[in-house]
Symmetry: C2
């Protein structure tokens, strides 16, 4: 009998600018951290009725392990960590803080990171894009100042213990790669660098990039 | 010996337009749903160094129950539900879906709701606000079409069982109250109405509104 491996969906192709940023990176990284083998179902179109039955917003990744089938990268990496009994502290207070920071990454930081992409990429052809650029940068900057102060001189959000909250926060901040917007926050830049230097992240990134075929559908 | 009640922070005063929308509503609603008495520490300024030690972004609510001290409304309502053994299904698949929808509310829906507030309120004096209005409405509309299809004709996201995911999704959609932006999505409007008609929500809203003093600090 073959072990049923957990499976995620990822894109078979994305444009050059999106490579290294698509959210299948997050579960890939989590799987590598906990040493869980997994399978990837590559899809070309997430907006089909069929895919929307598992992901109503027409996005990737989705996740299935035989017992649980879910979408939302935050819920997926939490599931991978919980199932493995790793990346989440067992102490109740530390566990709750880890959940807090996972959600902070997704609700208190990522919208400000996404605002840059929305303005600079998805609204780049709109008449307000250039004028609005400094405003979204100022909003992000203020958020990063607060996050920098919260991290302080710790290695990880929970001190010396790398958790799934770091995995998510660094994934979110990784969305700024190449923008120079972390340059004014050297402690955060070093934090992201620490996370992305982990062997598990390197392997996840390599597999993420290797999945893309060279031609669009 | 007096039982130590869980405590949250909320604002002693907010401007008229923010009343009914501030996020202390979320834990208040969760406490009422599970029948947990709680205390509220009213603060006038969340940007102080003292408050930032518990909420680095200078916001409310924060939460403490003697064992766990956290911020992020999503993590707080999850903690309240988990501690009470209510609002989270015990079946592992349903539990994971509940976590998925909680995070979907915060990461896949709320940024689109917030984009309306950012454009119409916080950037209303900016030269691009009027021109950008239709774009943020179109983005939100597309997201709500997807959410409407996912909910379908179910009562709650998990069918007949009201969960903490509904509490969060309805709280997020409640941010559209008064905008008319749910009018084109009658099933979602009815869903929000169902949630806000629950006695626990009514009590939470009444207590939320009653907390505000009439004069600013």
């Amino acid at each position: 009998m073959t072990e049923m491996l957990p499976t995620i969906t990822a894109f078979a192709w994305v444009p050059e600018f999106a490579r290294g940023f698509v959210r299948d990176l997050r579960p890939r990284w989590a799987f590598e951290e906990v040493g869980q083998r997994y399978e990837v179902e590559l899809i070309r179109d997430a907006k089909t009725p069929d895919h929307r039955r598992t992901q109503p917003f027409g996005q990737i990744p989705t996740y299935s392990d035989g017992e649980v089938a879910i979408f939302e990268s935050g819920a997926i990496v939490w599931r991978i960590a919980e199932r493995a009994g790793q990346l989440i502290p067992s102490d109740p207070a530390a566990r709750a803080r880890t959940h807090q920071w996972l959600i902070a990454a997704l609700n208190s930081v990522e919208p400000y990171v996404m605002a840059i992409a929305i303005n600079d990429l998805f609204e780049s052809d709109q008449p307000w894009s250039a004028a609005r650029g400094p405003k979204v940068r100022a909003d992000l900057h203020a958020r990063l100042v607060d996050l920098d102060a919260a991290l302080g001189d710790e290695t990880w959000l929970e001190g010396t213990e790398f958790t799934v909250a770091d995995l998510m926060m660094i994934s979110v901040l990784g969305g700024l790669r190449g923008t120079g917007l972390l340059d004014q926050h050297p402690r955060l830049a070093a934090y992201v660098e620490r996370g992305e230097s982990r062997p598990a992240h390197r392997k996840a990134m390599a597999d993420h990039l290797a999945a893309f075929v060279t031609e669009p559908a």
